[in-house]
Amino acid sequence: MKSLNLGSFLIGLFLHSTLIFSNEVAYKTEVVVEGLDNPWSIAFVSENQWLVTERSGDLRTVKDGILQSDPVAGVPEVLFAGQGGLSEVLLHPKFSENRLVYLSFSESDSVETKLNRLTVVRGRLEGNSLVDIKTIFGSHPLRKTAAHYGARMKFMADGTLLITSGDGFNYREKAQSLDNHFGKIVRVNDDGSIPADNPFLNTPGALPEIWSYGHRNLQGLVIADDGTVFEHEHGPKGGDELNVVEPGKNYGWPAITYGVDYSGAIISPFTDQPGMEQPIQYWVPSIAPSGMTLYRGDMFPMWKGDLFIAALVPGDVRRIELDGEKAINETIMFNEFGRIRDVASAPDGSLILATDGANGKLIRVSAVK
């Protein structure tokens, strides 16, 4: 019986852990957690404690590699439909002092219940509960569609928070006007108030939170140490983009695009236009970019400073080597796990991949010692 158990263990280990030796770097992959319901985002409280969002509405904790059975209490009710649900989890830069956690999610309006919005709340993590929850952003206007929320967040070095807000699918043209949050990156202070140096603060008719516009469905956001903001967004059928984003600039959607509509129709015959920014990389056909990290760890020195982009289609991770603000090389990696929803850099320097779907896994990529 013991030998059978040992055999099962070894077979399990083989199935769950794979060693890869490439010309460049040797790494192994291992399934750390499985059975997550549509995992979407990961935040690292410490090397041994992670928070993971499940799009169906739970915030889960992983301690020492074990998924805790009880989800974090106090998370607001979310609209789990279509592409919506509980999305990003992000720690405040001073989390160790204030224990503040930020969550983005889609939620139905309390009055017009057939309509919904992207909402961002913050709460204080006390034990296994979120307390003192405060809404710091709600997208305007409401939408009827359950798609294209964006919902990624990152803190800038000055302590302000960038939030990506997608175009809502049906409302793509609104990405070009400043009186709404469709297809925008917005910037707020950590309490939701408006920073005094936002680019459209004094523009008549413009919402003061808007930081950049002309985006589609932005699901990747990182900020480099020098302050450069990288964002990726889903294109339609083709035309996914990786952009360097600057305040006040227009990224063109849907007036310019490298993609066509899912129906095969032309959205715009134009791919460039004065006053509209070009991506530093685009993909035709689409890879469905769904999450991104900038690798800063020491475990893989060769990867330092590279972007890793999770791709849902066909299901892999794109490693983008940068030269300043230029993308100079792309490598397809980790294409054996299916659709990858997110990729994150763990404090120990390993990469954590979150697979998409109702039986989502967290997969650790670490160096072979």
Binding site: A81, F169, K237, Y262, S263, G264, A265, P269, F270
Partner: protein, 153 residues
Amino acid sequence: MLRTTVVFLMATLIAMFFVAAQTSLSNLWWLSSVDMPITGSIIISMLLRDLIGMSVAGAFPIIAVVVAGLAIAFFVAHILLKIISIERKIIYALAGGAALFAIVVLMPLAFYNLDLIAGARTLLGKGILITGGMIAGYYFGAKSKKVVANEKS
């Protein structure tokens, strides 16, 4: 049978023309409103590309949806013609309109309210496409072979 098939395909093309043209023109209208340089050649090119693209190049083939919608609607109209007395062109026109209504109004309900045909995102757009379906149905009713002796023509 051959005549019915040819007339059905023509009716499908009429409906597809409305779907593609409404999508092209609504996109072009908006692009023009934000000062994108729309020219006559761009309009013609986009109309033609959308007619072809929406028929064969989409992630899902709109033309297959239209064919299926019209086929079901015309079959129901064919049955109804046997049991009620109504002008053939009228019932097929209503059937064509119902088919497009299902495609532009009911189908999005199954996709989280996403209007997958861009030209159908507004009420006006939906109305135009339903009208296109009615015209396609009217054409089918007028040109296809009568199958019941006591039908009104």
